[in-house]
Symmetry: C2
Subunit: 405 residues, 2 copies
């Protein structure tokens, strides 16, 4: 059973679907089950109802799961069972989040799912008395939605979690936000331009993403003036953090899975050819569909990425990246922990190693961890073994003097 | 794709294999990933190498994983990374445990796997500075192997975790031992006659299992003389705890997933016919195999259960259960939390409800929680959503005045 192509090389195991993109998503959601998402039972209850390769059946299954979990959460709240309610709310968050992945952008259905996801996440935090709250970071006359720690966490280091091309601020909770908070770190998790719902505010991936990251860091410094600052970037966030350290500097350490110095080259080497043309328009996509070169899953995904990249689409963004986006690795002046899955695209692994070597020359505490398939952390962003990645991250912060306690 | 029969009705979702028993095991191991077992990535790295229905390929894949995880754990220890080592040791424990499930009993391979599992588990506890230690509970001139809390946990209630027909004491860590300890309860997790490695000591399921449970409770009371005592029984432990409360009484509360009053009837209603004959002997099993009525997976499983039931085998044990084993539900005198998966055998659900109703008449705090397929807790022992089961268990203990804090 040979799997169908995913959007790029992101993993090598086979979880459930022949469709490569759906299979990556199945594994990613199993990964979330280790850190508070849908349990394996609830997840497979959805997957068993999905038709392989059919985005609509995926969206329906997870919409139903979100509604079910929301109902259970409300029932638990009515009984006064806060911790059970919190678990169901977080499961509802994950179900809505999963549905969003293959739901057509700019539809009322997608808006309702994002609303459900946000409401459920915030209800989970309240029900579990978790010390974080929604926040808004001003940026060029707009407000970037995020979450920030409340109270007085014990650690004197702020962890800023930075997502990529497929994250909402709620994802950042699973991508280390919760793990950092549990260990006593204050955390900041904000949607940058292009991420989450920001494309609907007219914000897209590009130079603005980096400038917004600077606004986020400044906002964090204002809130925690005595704290050191660590960036923790995932997926595209591996590029944003690397380029940020290049352009702005000033952070005490940074973690990237994976550090990327040349995003344009990453796109060209690692993404399927069909995404690298100019297939943004409705007519072009229709022709590709008819020619059988664009499966329904790729079609929905492409439309989503185009939405995030703005009017020029992905191809325009790659052109921009080629001219202004390259990182000057010799300017990178902060210790780095590079996390790399050995089942990721060869280009990602090569760039990570190159960035690591350059930074290591200036900062001897810089480290590189490569995750093999047997480790379970070999996929993109270590999505199939988050707890192992987190032990490496927080162990490294301990060793370089940025411990939580 | 219609799945092949499992040993009984234990779940309804489809995880990975057509073979029903292997598929239940895959789901069970995914469940462990939520509470410290193999990550989904490491697990599917094994599953992808297993030939559906072939026990030998299963054993080999997990043996290799155990060796890999053991090597990673030792490397982490050599680097002084205790928490990473602990995670790999616990993954090695789970991998060895998984291999044991389909490894022929009484072989050097099975003995080596049990040794690996125990050594890895104990190394995990040491590396993570977890406050439990191996213990031995004297019973009729022998010593039952177990684990007990050390130090001075905050709660004044001892949680005794009781396994079933498929558990080793190490499993009890995942089945609530860790969850209780995290919440401040002292815990006691002991192999009763028939469980774990006790068949090799000449101990088998039967009246001795109940008398040994009494020895365990007495041992716990001697160690924690001011504590209240709660039993938490899983699978066959749902029967042992129910029958124990009937015969011995004296506990402050008990949790059972599921409470069983008539084990003989459970066997007759819920197990496949092939296991209910007298197929213990080598020759009988060979004939059944030739006739195609005994798949390799059922064959290995049957040999294992026969080993646990002693010389008379399963059929003899059912006969004994029929005459002496029935529970007098009107004698049950302690509050009960009954956990029931709606995808379990109808007979299990019916008995659980009957026990619940009887106990509820005497103890109004008695509760019944039924888990639907969408909840993820619908399988036998809630293996596909342990965290939800635990929230129900510890929330209930809070409500009936046996809180951890």
């Amino acid at each position: 059973m040979k799997p169908e192509k995913d959007l790029g090389a992101r993993q090598r195991h086979h979880y459930y679907f022949r469709n490569g993109t759906m299979d990556f998503y199945a594994g990613w959601l199993l990964g979330y089950s280790q850190v508070g998402g849908l349990s394996p039972g609830s997840l497979y209850d959805c997957l068993n109802r999905v038709k392989d390769g059919d985005p609509g059946s995926w969206v329906r299954a997870f919409e139903e799961a979100a509604a079910y979990q929301d109902g259970e959460a409300r029932a638990a709240e009515a009984r006064g069972s806060g911790s059970i309610a919190a678990q169901h709310h977080l499961a509802a968050t994950t179900a809505a989040r999963a549905a969003l992945n293959l739901c057509r952008v700019r539809t009322p259905e997608a808006v309702a799912l994002a609303d459900r996801m946000e409401a459920s996440f915030q209800a989970a935090m309240r029900a579990g008395a978790t010390p974080i709250e929604p926040c808004e970071v001003p940026f060029e006359g707009r407000r970037l939605p995020g979450y920030a720690s409340t109270g007085a966490p014990s650690a004197r280091t702020l962890v800023v979690v930075v997502g990529g091309g497929d994250t909402y601020r709620e994802d950042l909770w699973f991508f280390g936000g919760a793990a950092a908070l549990t260990r006593g770190y204050p955390v900041l998790m904000v949607d940058l331009p292009g991420q989450g719902r920001t494309p609907s505010l007219g914000l897209h991936f590009g130079r603005a993403t980096l400038e917004a990251l600077d606004a986020v860091v400044r906002w964090g410094r204002a809130r925690w003036p005595d704290h050191r600052v660590v960036l923790c970037g995932w997926s595209g966030g591996g590029y944003f953090t690397t380029k940020y350290v290049d352009l702005f500097g000033g952070v005490d350490a940074w973690i990237a899975s994976t550090p990327i110095e040349d995003l344009a080259k990453m796109f060209e080497e690692a993404m399927p050819a069909v995404l690298r043309g100019h297939p943004e328009g409705w007519a072009q996509r229709a022709l590709l569909r008819i020619a059988g070169r664009l499966s329904p899953v790729l079609d929905v995904s492409l439309e989503k990425y185009s939405h995030q990249f703005g009017p020029g689409g992905i191809a325009g963004a790659v052109e921009l990246m080629r001219t202004v986006g390259r990182v000057e690795v010799d300017r990178l002046d902060a210790p780095l922990l590079a996390l790399v899955g050995t089942s990721e695209a060869a280009e990602a692994q090569a760039q990570a190693r190159h960035v690591y070597e350059a930074v290591h020359r200036r900062h001897a505490t810089t480290a590189l961890v490569e995750f093999s398939p047997a480790s379970g952390g070999d996929a993109h962003c270590q999505v199939n073994n988050f707890p192992l990645a987190f032990e490496h991250i927080f162990g490294w912060l301990d060793r370089i003097g940025l411990a939580a306690s």
